[in-house]
Each structure stands twice: as C-alpha cells, then as structure tokens.
C-alpha cells in the first residue's frame, strides 16, 4: 500500500482480468495431469492435443473450485452456464479454439473487499468464468523455429473480471492481494504470479476528475508480479495523461509491460485479433447448476480473510493492522494460531511474525508459495522463544541472537540459551559491578553527563551491555545506572 500519486485533474479508471490456474489434479476436459514441470508433452492426450474425433468431459472438481470462488466473492450463480469456443490461431492452441464461456458465464455480479489506506473498498466483479489454458511456446534464439509444449494446454483456469472500479495503481495491487488471499484460503489456486499460476491483465483509461464518461482504454499485459502490476499501471496512466495533455488521442490497443525498461509498448497487433467469433461449443452440454449442490459447497467454505482478521482483533486483542498483515495469507495466519496455541502472548508472537519471520520469508522468496512447508522456524519453537522472554530467562535483545541461531541451525531455543550461555543476568550484584566498572573507566563522560548532557545515558547502557555480553537485564541496568550517575 503506497500513497496515492498525484495525477492532477485526471482520474484513472482501472479494471482487472485475473486468470487463476485451479489446483486440480487433472486437466479441465481430459484425464491428463495438470502438474507443472514434466517432460515436454508428457501430459498430453488426443483430447488436449486437439486430435479429430475426441470429446471433452468436464472435470467435477474444477466446477467445484470455480463455484467456491464465486460464492466466496458473493457472486450470483445463474442456472445455466454455457461453454463457448473462442476462435483464433496460434501454435500453442492445438484445436484452433479455446473452450471458454462467453455470454453465459458460471457466475456474475460479485465483489471483493479491498483494504486500502483510506479504508475498506468494494471492487465489484462483473463475472467469473471457466476456460482452458493454452500450451507454451519456447523460442530458441539459434533456430528459425519455435518449440511447442502442450502440457499446460487444457489446464483449468478461472477468469475473474472486475468492474472498472479501481482508481489507482496501488489500489489495483491491493485488489490483487485481497483476491489472492481469497483464492489461497479457498485452496483453489496457489496465487503465484512469478510462476504464472495467477496472471493479470489491466484495462486502463483516464478521465477528468468529476466526469463519469469512460475514456478510451488500453489493455496492459505481461505483468508477472504485484510490483509489476503497480508500476505498469502507474506508468500507463502517466503515458495516457501525457498523450492527452499533448493534444493526442488514446488508441484502443494492447500494450506489453517491459519491466527492464519500465515502459509499456504496443503489441504488434495481428489484424482483427479480437474477432474471436464465439459460438456455443457443440461438443459440450450446458453446465446446469444444482441448488442443493451449490448450498453444499457454500456450507463447506472456510473462514475467509476478512472474517479471520476480525476474529483475530476480537479474540486475540491484536491491532487491526497486525491482524490484516497476519491474515493476508492463510499459511501465515495458521502459523500465528499454531504458535499461539503453544504460548498465549498474541501481541509478542504477532510482532515476531511480522518482523523477523516475514523478513526471512521474503529473503528466502517463500512469499509466493501457498503453503510454506519449510518455515525457517517452526511455530512451536517461536512460541518457546517468546516464553523464554516472558519468564525473564532472556532479554528481547538476546532473543534476536537466539532466533538467528534457530534459523541457522535449527534447534530448541532453551538449549541454545544454555549451550551459548545466554541466560539473562538478573543478579544485581553482577550488574552493579559492571556499572561501577564502566563509570570508573569514563570519568570525562560521567562529568559531561552530570553537567546536563542527558544523551550520554545511552552510551553508558551500551558499555554495560557490552561488558555483560548483552545478557544483563536491561531494566536493572537502567535503574542502577540512573541512580549511580545521579551521584
């Protein structure tokens, strides 16, 4: 979340189309594995290769996942959804058409609550539909050919289309984060933008503030991180403003984001590329929703991010900001509750997660995996560390050292404390000896301090801590220093 940039008299109008790969075992219309990373074309069959004479059969779990998402975002589910063919030619599309949904999608009219610095905003959803993914082209620089791998062809996708309700680049990123959190809570998509399991295209236009008419929009593609989405949209808004203020006109076109150059460039357009000639797929019967089954899916919905956030504030008494950070990801929220079960100090555990744990997760680039199976430190171990601080065995400062040890070599915090001799010195006699030694060693500084240079107090604390290897109880050091320096 960043500050709203100043676009002067211009108001951006942004809508996002998100493609989310569903976490099914098999493809949308055939029994090929949907897993990533196999030998080229190992996950193909006559159906997903588009061979003649084959028929697609719909994957039940894909329907369930899409329905779950629709219900979690408050969508209506029409009685009938219909499969349509979207026709275009490209080597990664073996049939010459993509099976998608067109005028009768799976779900319509929902919304996503987005946390912004100005509070919660609802971005409306136009629709959610299901479709199959295309394959992958590999371009070899040394060859005048391209290679095609159809392992991804036919993998189930949801396309989640928002209304043009978004008003800044930062808000677009916030919307995406909220949507990703929902998909992850529902366990229907892993939400990994870098690996392409969640992709985003943005429709961007500008208009004068206070007007309601929509301007001509451009579509931005090729943004593969939250940061790219935010930067690309901001750059595109500024480009449009410059064009319009220079007396030019915005051309409706698709533009590609170039992250290295920090610019968007028009895609070399294939003529009539948008003439997809959709028509109902004669190979597939309509998808008729069964109200009883939809109700069953609804009852099976897990607690969603917003509800969990509110519960954390209510039950654990942590600030709303902390709760929002912790619940933005399901695995982080699970981690918090697991640690809490072992040692009930919500605020302290929350601080450790938001600070040290999430820093590590970021450093180790774990931040895009759905379930972090290898957290740097197990939740029970973190709970133990906090318990050691709470019962006075170690200071908060020493705890950081213990934490680094836990990360580096693993192990139990209590045994690290014993092995390294990090137990906090609360024995006033020992601390007093250190305080006396420090005062005796720096007569000049003592004189300065007594003549009113209060800032030197920190210097003395530092010296005592150094002398005790950081193990002295900070409160005891403060008290003793204060009384002895007072003379």
């Amino acid at each position: 979340m960043s500050d709203a940039p100043d676009y002067g008299p211009w108001e951006p109008v942004i809508g996002l189309e998100v493609h989310a790969q569903m976490l099914t075992e098999s493809k949308l219309f055939c029994g090929c594995s949907a897993k990533f990373g196999a030998e080229p074309n190992a996950h193909t069959c006559p159906v997903c290769m588009g061979m003649p004479g084959v028929l697609p059969v719909l994957n039940r779990r894909a329907v369930e996942f899409a329905t779950r998402t629709a219900l979690a975002t408050g969508c209506e589910i029409p009685r009938i959804a219909r499969w349509a063919r979207k026709n275009y030619f490209y080597p990664d599309l073996p049939k010459g058409y993509q099976i998608s949904m067109y005028d009768e999608p799976l779900a319509v009219a929902g919304g996503v609550e987005v946390e912004t610095p100005e509070g919660t905003r609802r971005v409306r959803l136009t629709r959610i539909h299901m479709e199959e993914d295309a394959g992958k082209n590999v371009h070899d620089a040394h060859d005048d050919h391209s290679l095609v791998d159809l392992n991804r062809a036919g993998v189930p996708l949801m396309e989640i289309v928002s209304e043009p309700d978004i008003r800044s680049a930062a808000e677009a990123a916030d919307y995406l984060r909220s949507l990703r959190a929902i998909l992850q809570y529902l366990a229907v998509c892993d939400g990994n933008m870098e690996e392409g399991s969640m992709r985003c295209d943005a429709n961007v236009s500008i208009r004068r503030r206070g007007t309601t008419e929509l301007g001509t929009r451009t579509e931005i593609k090729n943004m593969n991180s939250f940061r790219s989405v935010e930067r690309a949209i901001d750059v595109e808004i500024r480009r449009q403003i410059e064009v319009v203020e220079g007396g030019g006109r915005i051309v409706q076109e698709t533009r590609l984001w170039d992250a290295d150059r920090g610019q968007t460039f028009p895609m070399r357009s294939k003529e009539a590329a948008h003439d997809y000639r959709y028509f109902p797929d004669p190979d597939l019967l309509p998808l008729v929703s069964d109200p009883a089954w939809v109700e069953e899916v609804r009852r099976g919905l897990p607690e969603l991010p917003a509800a969990r956030r509110d519960r954390f504030v209510r039950d654990h008494g942590i600030p709303p900001y902390d709760a929002a950070v912790l619940t933005a990801r399901r695995d982080v929220a699970d981690y918090f509750e697991a640690a809490l079960a072992a040692h009930p100090n919500p605020k302290s555990i929350s601080n450790w997660i938001m600070g040290d744990i999430l820093r590590l997760v970021r450093e180790r680039k774990l931040d895009d995996a759905l379930v972090i199976t290898e957290w740097p430190v197990a939740p029970a171990a973190l709970a133990k560390l906090v318990a050691l601080i709470d019962d006075g065995t170690i200071s908060g400062k020493i705890a950081k050292t213990v934490f680094e040890e836990m990360v580096a070599g693993g192990g139990d915090p209590a045994s690290i404390v014993e092995k390294k001799g990090l137990r906090q010195v609360t024995d006033t006699g020992a601390i007093e000896a250190a305080v006396d030694a420090v005062i005796a060693a720096s007569p000049d500084k003592v004189a300065e301090y007594r003549s009113g240079k209060d800032k030197l107090f920190g210097f003395f604390v530092g010296q005592v801590m150094k002398a005790t290897g950081g193990k002295a109880n900070p409160q005891a050091v403060n008290d003793l220093l204060r009384s002895k320096l007072a003379g």
């Binding site: 029994g31 074309n41 290769m49």
Partner: protein, 95 residues
C-alpha cells in the same frame, strides 16, 4: 444485406484461407445464399422460446478429478510434421 467480397476476404483471413479471386466470388455467392436462407427464419416469432444451443436435453456429464492418462510424449508427437525431442516444432513465432 448481401455478403460483399470484403466480408469474404475478412472471413478467409480469420480462417487462414488463401483464396483465388474466382474462389472469392464463388464463396461470396454461397455465403449470400446461406445467409439468405437463415434470414427467412428470422420472420418466425420465437419470443417465447429459449435459445437452443443443444438438441440433447441433458446437463453436462462430469468426471472425477483423477490424472489417469499414461505419459507417452514420444507417441503423442509422433504424427507431428516436425518435432525436436518431445517438443512440437513449428515455424518461428514472431511477436
């Protein structure tokens, strides 16, 4: 509205068909008569009838989410005009 040669060329482009001028004119006439026939249907009053995309009155059958297909990439690319290991090989894609 009669089908024009422009329409024929546009459709041919979308379908990636290369047509000789004589073929364009023949297809223009064919398409024109097909659309003329369909236009007759428009005179019927179907305001109370649900659009029929399918004559089979069934919901779509569903299958369980199991990856049951064997992995046989060599076999799957065997019929391709050109291949490289188990990749399909196509003329360079320029974008």
């Amino acid at each position: 509205m009669p089908v024009s040669l422009e329409d024929v060329r546009h459709i041919a482009l979308l379908a990636r068909l290369g047509l000789a001028p004589a073929e364009e004119e023949r297809l223009r006439r064919d398409l024109d008569s097909i659309l003329g026939y369909v236009a007759q249907l428009e005179s019927l009053d179907v305001s109370g009838v649900e659009p029929t995309a399918h004559v089979v009155d069934l919901p779509t059958p569903l299958r369980e989410d199991r990856a049951t297909n064997p992995e046989r990439p060599e076999e799957m690319v065997e019929n391709a005009p050109d291949r490289d290991r188990t990749f399909l090989r196509v003329p360079k894609i320029i974008e």
